[in-house]
């Protein structure tokens, strides 16, 4: 029923059980050397069975330590791109190269299981991977600390604010220490202040964990603030129509948002997006 088998785990960052590692057919060229990309799309295209042409000839890659953000008009195929990367959707053309045993996927909603406490939700991915109770409790505690949720372990999702839920969702993905992080508008539903605070925290996380990130957002400022590179997608069928290296360093102080250079890049991306709509 599910198509997600046959990807090898070659980098020992995660404590997967043996059966997760048995398959070695695909990934010999993905073996975690610092230079090879963690995620690579080549001439990727996607046509849904109903004929919807969602993605057209998209090529780019994400290296470790790279934070790539895709912005684009609603319905242009951004979520589809992430779903293809994670294997939830099967693409119809081109190449998608990624180690699917080491993916963290943060959805637009926090998608916490409402019947589990924060602690149990954070443990979920590890639990489903068959990690021992001791290990997953230790790693969860660490992740909870990383996202500043200490003290809330025994609360249920309905007792959390929107921002706390997102933190919990983030922690859940962090536990397996994935090589590739996919973010589908994770902060879209939050207020501006919470969003900026989580942006700051995400930058810190990114700088300490050095994963490869593919991020999607509707907020140009968020894209520029977080990313090392911003890609602009056209309206459907989604093509890449803009590509910006963001010239700021790894440290991103909060007030970088008010620098002229920041505004300038935002303006350029904004122009691209206007074109994208027409």
């Amino acid at each position: 029923m599910f198509t997600l088998v046959g990807w090898a785990s070659t980098v020992a960052t995660t404590n997967f059980t043996e059966d997760m590692m048995t398959d070695t057919e695909y990934a010999s060229d993905l073996s975690g050397t610092a230079t090879s990309p963690r995620l690579r799309f080549e001439h990727l295209s996607m046509v849904f069975p109903d004929g919807t042409h969602a993605i057209d000839d998209v090529s780019f890659s994400v290296d470790p330590g790279e934070f790539v953000t895709v912005v684009g008009p609603s319905g242009c195929g951004k979520s589809t791109l992430l779903r293809i990367a994670s294997g939830l959707t099967q693409h119809t053309g081109g190449v998608c190269d990624v180690n699917r045993d080491s993916i963290g996927y943060v959805f637009q909603d926090a998608t916490l299981l409402p019947w589990r406490t924060v602690q149990k939700n954070v443990e979920l991915n590890a639990e489903l991977h068959g990690m021992s109770k001791q290990d997953r409790q230790r790693l969860s505690a660490e992740a909870i600390e990383l996202v500043n949720l200490v003290g809330h372990e025994d609360k249920f999702p309905k007792q959390l604010s929107g921002g706390m839920k997102m933190r919990c969702s983030l922690a859940r993905s962090l536990v397996l220490n994935p090589e590739v992080f996919l973010f589908d508008e994770p902060f879209g539903a939050l207020d501006e202040i919470t969003r900026e605070r989580l942006n700051d925290e995400l930058i810190n996380l990114f700088n300490s964990e050095k994963f490869a990130a593919l991020f999607i957002t509707h907020s140009i400022a968020e894209a520029v603030f977080l990313s090392t590179r911003v890609l602009v997608m056209s309206a459907r069928p989604g093509r890449l129509i803009g590509d910006y290296q963001i010239p700021f360093g790894a440290e991103r102080p909060h007030d970088i948002r008010f620098e002229p250079e920041f505004a300038e890049i935002c303006g350029l991306i904004n122009n691209d997006l206007k074109d994208a709509h027409t």
Partner: protein, 305 residues
């Protein structure tokens, strides 16, 4: 005890009365109000309704008893139901104790039948949830199960299952299983798509997905189904008492047996009221279990606390 000539025309009315009593039961959602004063205030409206009901009853009984020609169909006065029906509380052959004695087999049939309905119903829903094909194969029969008039097939059931506890359980299950199946299936199928994606990303087995995702998310709907089923199970057990005479005699038998002679009617009423109370108690117990099971996480639970 008077032998009773069969009067089937009466029976549906009787069971209707039981249905109404169970269905009307108590308010499901207590309105908000944490302080004691508030609670008392909330009790007033239903108490007023009750007082009016008793008043009308007195009026009706009184008008009938006054008219000798009508007396055969008269209702006993409410206080007579208590003095001649429920009292004495603890006597071998009169009052409450024999009523409870007759209640016990009915309670047993209800609980066992409900238990079977839950286990079987959830299992069937799980199978139907496995694939659209399974659902298509089974659902029409679940519907037929629900729509077939139980009363019309009692002779058939007697042929198949005899007329002891087995056939009573069959009647209860026939009535109670459908809400369990449909609600559980609905719950399983309402599982959040993103939650499914989350589990897919973790390469889980079908069994793990069922156990850790679908069944927990189906729990509130399943409990709602069980709550409906519990009312149905009580009705089923009592209806079965009316029709199947062998085996342990239940409260339905007690009620039916005291219907014919006016002198026995206070006892009949006492039996009916006790049976209805049992329905209410079942409903409340299942409600309390539901609230406990999902109190921490489900929206519906926060309304009651």
């Amino acid at each position: 005890m008077t032998a009773l000539d069969e009067s089937p025309a009466e029976v549906p009315q009787e069971s209707m009365a039981v249905t109404a009593a169970v269905g009307a039961s108590v308010p499901v959602h207590q309105p908000k109000g944490s302080s004691k004063g508030h609670r008392l205030k909330n009790l007033i409206p239903p108490l007023v309704t009750f007082a009016i009901f008793i008043g009308v009853w007195y009026l009706y009984s009184w008008s009938r008893f006054d008219n000798p020609a009508q007396r055969r169909n008269a209702l006993p006065y409410p206080h007579t139901v208590i003095t001649d029906g429920f009292l004495p509380l603890w006597d071998e052959s009169n009052g409450l104790r024999p009523i409870l004695g007759y209640m016990w087999p009915t309670v047993k049939v209800t609980l066992i039948g409900l238990g079977i309905s839950i286990v079987l119903g959830v299992a069937i829903a799980v199978v139907m949830n496995l694939s659209k094909g399974m659902e298509r194969a089974l659902f029409p029969y679940a519907v037929i199960l629900q729509t077939v008039p139980i009363l019309a097939i009692t002779p058939l059931l007697t042929q198949l299952f005899g007329d002891e506890i087995g056939v009573r359980l069959v009647v209860v299950v026939l009535i109670a299983i459908f809400p369990v199946i449909t609600n559980t299936l609905f719950g399983l199928q309402s599982t959040d798509r993103l939650h499914h994606d989350l589990f897919t990303l973790n390469h889980v087995s079908r069994w793990t997905r069922l156990r850790k995702l679908e069944l927990p998310s189906a729990l509130p709907a399943m409990m709602a189904g069980i709550r409906i089923a519990s009312g149905g199970a009580v009705i089923g057990a009592i209806v079965a008492d009316f029709f199947f005479n062998q085996g342990e005699k239940g409260i339905g038998y007690y009620i039916r047996n005291r219907q014919q002679r006016a002198a026995n009617r206070p006892e009949m009423f006492a039996g009916t009221i006790t049976a209805s109370m049992f329905g209410v108690v079942m409903f409340l117990i299942v409600g309390a279990i539901t609230a406990r099971a999902i109190r921490n996480w489900h929206e519906s639970a926060s309304r009651q606390t």
